[in-house]
Amino acid sequence: MALQDYINDMMRCEKDSVCKFIPLSIFDSKKYSEICPSIIRYNFHTYSGSGRLFHALGFLRGRHDYSDDMINMVYNCQMCGGCDVTCKAVRDLEVLETLIEMRVRCVEDGQIPDNVLEVIDGLKKENNMMIEKKADRGKWADGLKIKDLAKEKAEVCFHAGCRFSYDDTLWPTLRGAVEVLQKAKVDIGIFGASENCCAGRAYEMGFQGELVSFMQSNLDAWKNAGVKVIVTPCSDCYAAFKAWYSRFGNAVEVYHITEYIHKLIQEGKIKFKKSVPLHITYHDPCHLGRLSERYEYSSPGKPYIMDEQPLAKVKGICCVYEEPKPWRRGANGIYDQPREVLKSIPGVKLTEMERRRSWAFCCGAGGGVMQSNPEYAQSTARLRIDEALDTGAEALVTACGWCERNFRDAIKSNGHGIEVYDILDLVLKAI
């Protein structure tokens, strides 16, 4: 796929601004009616999904060229997919795909912000997005008795991901998750220092080649270790394995840890014994929710290559492709399992935020923004924290290390009074 393959989508945008707002049918209040962090922050229409489509069209038409402002605009977007699902609630345009391809084009042309380049250099050299040493990747598991998949075989691979592996404040959560799975007698192993990045975030920053290359490395490693199922606590990794890998023709059986714990609860393998008296609200990570839908085709295993398919004319106009497009509209993300896990913990009281499930507001960390523009990432997080505070909850619970870190950083810089937890933290308290 290339940027020009979405030209039809660019030209079919009517500038109706549905990409900026929560649809009226699920609307709760004006205060929380917007879904796009980028247009909220920068205001110019070009920063919205629609504006980005028009911008991409102008770029392809040769009406403008690269400039600093243009590159900043392209990269000041969390790729959260909010514009995509709200557009698709009424229309049939591939907004997010176009946004990603615009970045891919920037990378191809060498138009990359310096701080993004620094992160990608780190990825190429050290296999992680944290600009850390590869050798330190498995430190979080020091002292744990767990299979090393580089040497042993296991049915389930516990993939920690870059954020969890290098952010030591998250290590207790990570180690606790492993212990919970082991107690439930799940045959798990880790790759430790030899674990690879999923490269999902790199892809969302425009580095498609890195995604394909890391995908192949991961698939080979899992195959060699006899792995059948991947479990990850990281929503970014989850979306990469489930959505982005399937976009390039590889279906991976992957569970987010909350999904897997939900499964174990259903099977009676996890039982909560302690009460956790806490009033919480739950933040749906974009990558666990609307971005995690698999690319599924009417022809199984067929890769997503729309540009090779002729347009079918229906009733005299172009509107469908010979191979129907994958159904990716946000509805099939992971929304119920985290909530059911939380509701099954004694003492936990869950109050929902207005923007939730497929129309949740982004934490601000995605799409490389946390790396390229941390101030913008945190200002977005503050908007979400305000929404959480408006529920009256004492704690904001999420299911992604990136969200958690961004929320914590925003709280630290702004002094918001709300606790932040991963669902796993509450699960560990209750067991």
Partner: protein, 544 residues
């Protein structure tokens, strides 16, 4: 053929000459709004550019503004306009950006500055006692109605759906919606406003408070608002007082995720039907009977193919539904379809309205479309949400090709509009048969009934869809638009644009006779440099 190759073939690369703002003007604007709220970087302003629809009307092709400014207050709007007027620069204020740009709100000349009113987005007041709201330009209908529904009120929303700006639609002459049967059209709900003249003077219309007495003849409000959109008016409205109405949707329950939001329960005193009539005559009689009975909360006539796109979530799904042949067999032309929603405010009234409606169905040969219900079980919910909430209406229908064009439209008696629909449908069908437009059997004339019979009126619009990436289809749309003007006037009707023509004056302005002449003089008085509304408002003339 690959998509990319095909598109490249039909639309050549166009590199327009860019008009760059003189440095001193840019700095003057920047001093007003601050450096974060103005840009002339072409990579950013190009996100505002317009195409295709402008080509249909023969104006504004591939143009992006030299700069975009984001004022945050009325005072900033006034200051910006003073700078632009002084320097003979054209200005186009925009709100939520909707409206087939540049038809109503787009760039038409290379020196036109966009004034994006996004930062002015507050609901300033909700007065339930006197039943009005005061809003700024960027508040959209979803935000306003979302707040109003919670307290038992609602606001008129035009056909394009909830992302329209109530201020933008209320401050122009047009603006029909499905709820018009209960709430009238947009201009009718205008109670007062704050307006910045082209020369940058701030004026408040409506006294005392926010109420402005409308009266027969040409009012001051009518003069400044023009016909439609910023290209059809003068100056900028920065605040607007709008009438609100009681909301009848209490008791609703919704569940699910996007895009499949399900109505688990409809409003306690709401009921909707999707009706099929054997002919346009039957539908016309039905409209008159509904009018006489003074019932109905929301109602629209929609084309059968359009209804399929409305009811489905994707073009693939629509394709499958069309492939069943249901349109041709069950409700396509010559049959005519209408969605009707009853909304009442007491149980007794609800029972009465339902009983009357069902009797009218019987007398007008209306039938509930059982085939459609069987093929598409969610039909009930879609029609309910379409009529009660105006969710996904135009956007849902226009996902077929991605865009739409509005041809001849009219607000007149039901008979006149029905005749017009048939007349224009025939012309449209010729283009459909040549494969140049979405094939709807000459349909796609949507109609909304208004004012509960006070004027006995119907608003019809003939809408068609062409493929934006297909130059032949775009040119066909242009062709149809202009060809259709003449026979329409031959039948004694004023074209959609007729009353407010600027750019189209030589062709169809004559239909408006003295109103057009009068408007030219008004324009000369308020905006002699023609800074605003340069295609849909009358132009200033030297000899006036």
């Amino acid at each position: 053929m690959k998509v990319s190759e095909r598109v490249r073939d039909v639309l050549p690369v166009i590199k327009p000459k860019r008009n760059k703002l003189p440095k001193e003007i840019y700095e003057a604007l920047q001093a007003i709004v601050g450096p974060d709220n103005i840009t002339e970087d072409y990579g950013i302003v190009d996100g505002y550019h317009n195409y295709t629809t402008g080509q249909v009307l023969g104006v504004g092709t591939m143009i992006a503004p030299p700069a975009v400014v984001l004022p945050g207050s009325t005072e900033e709007v006034a200051a910006i306009q003073r700078v632009l007027y002084r320097n003979h620069l054209k200005c186009c204020p925009i709100t939520t950006n909707y409206g087939a740009p540049p038809l109503w709100g787009g760039i038409t000349t290379k020196d036109m500055i966009y004034m994006d009113l996004r930062r002015m987005n507050k609901i300033l007041e909700i007065d339930t006692k006197n039943m009005y709201v005061i809003v700024e330009p960027f508040v959209n209908a979803a935000q306003l109605n979302g707040e109003l529904h919670k307290i038992g009120y609602t606001n008129h929303c035009t056909g394009p759906g909830p992302t329209i700006s109530p201020l933008a639609t209320t401050t122009q002459g047009w603006g029909m919606g499905f709820d018009s049967i209960f709430q009238g059209w947009s201009g009718r709900n205008f109670l007062g406003g704050e307006w910045v003249s082209p020369t940058g003077e701030i004026m408040r219309i409506g006294a005392p408070g926010w109420f402005y007495p409308d009266s027969p003849g040409t009012s001051f409000y009518g003069i400044i608002r023009g016909g439609m959109g910023p290209l059809g008016g003068m100056g900028t409205f920065t605040k607007c007082a709008i009438k609100i109405y009681p909301w009848a949707g209490q008791g609703e329950k919704k569940v699910g995720d996007l895009p499949k939001i399900r109505w688990e329960k409809f409003g306690d005193r709401m009921k909707s039907w999707y009706l099929t009539f054997p002919s346009m005559d039957d539908m016309t009689e039905f409209m008159y009977m509904i009018n006489k009975a003074h019932i109905g909360y929301s109602m629209d006539k929609n084309g059968a193919v359009a209804a399929v796109f409305l009811m489905t979530d994707s073009n693939d799904e629509a394709y499958n539904m069309l492939a069943t042949g249901i349109v041709d067999e069950s409700f396509g032309p010559p049959k005519v379809n209408v969605g009707l929603l009853i909304g009442a405010f007491s149980d007794r009234e609800f029972k009465y309205q339902v009983k009357v409606a069902e009797e009218i169905f019987r007398r007008s040969n209306a039938s509930i479309n059982e085939d459609l219900m069987a093929t598409y079980p969610m039909c009930d919910e879609v029609i309910y949400s379409h009529l009660a909430w105006n969710t996904g209406t135009a956007q849902g229908v226009f996902k077929a090709a991605g865009t739409f064009y509005v041809g001849i439209s009219y607000m007149d008696t039901t008979d006149v509009c029905s005749i017009g629909s048939i007349l224009y449908g025939k012309m449209k069908k010729e283009y459909e048969d040549r494969g140049l437009m979405l094939q709807e059997g000459g349909e796609s004339n949507w109609a909304a009934y208004y004012e509960g019979g006070t004027l006995g009126g119907l608003h019809t619009e003939t809408i068609w869809q062409g493929d934006n990436s297909d130059l032949e289809q775009i040119l066909a749309c242009n062709d149809l638009f202009f060809k259709a003007c003449k026979p329409w006037m031959d039948h004694g009707m004023t074209p959609f644009w007729g009353k407010h023509v600027g750019h189209f004056g030589p062709l169809i302005g004559g239909a408006a006779v003295t109103a057009y002449e009068y408007r030219c003089k008004i324009k000369k008085t308020f905006d002699s440099k023609n800074v605003f509304g340069n295609i849909l408002y009358a132009l200033p003339r030297e000899d006036d």
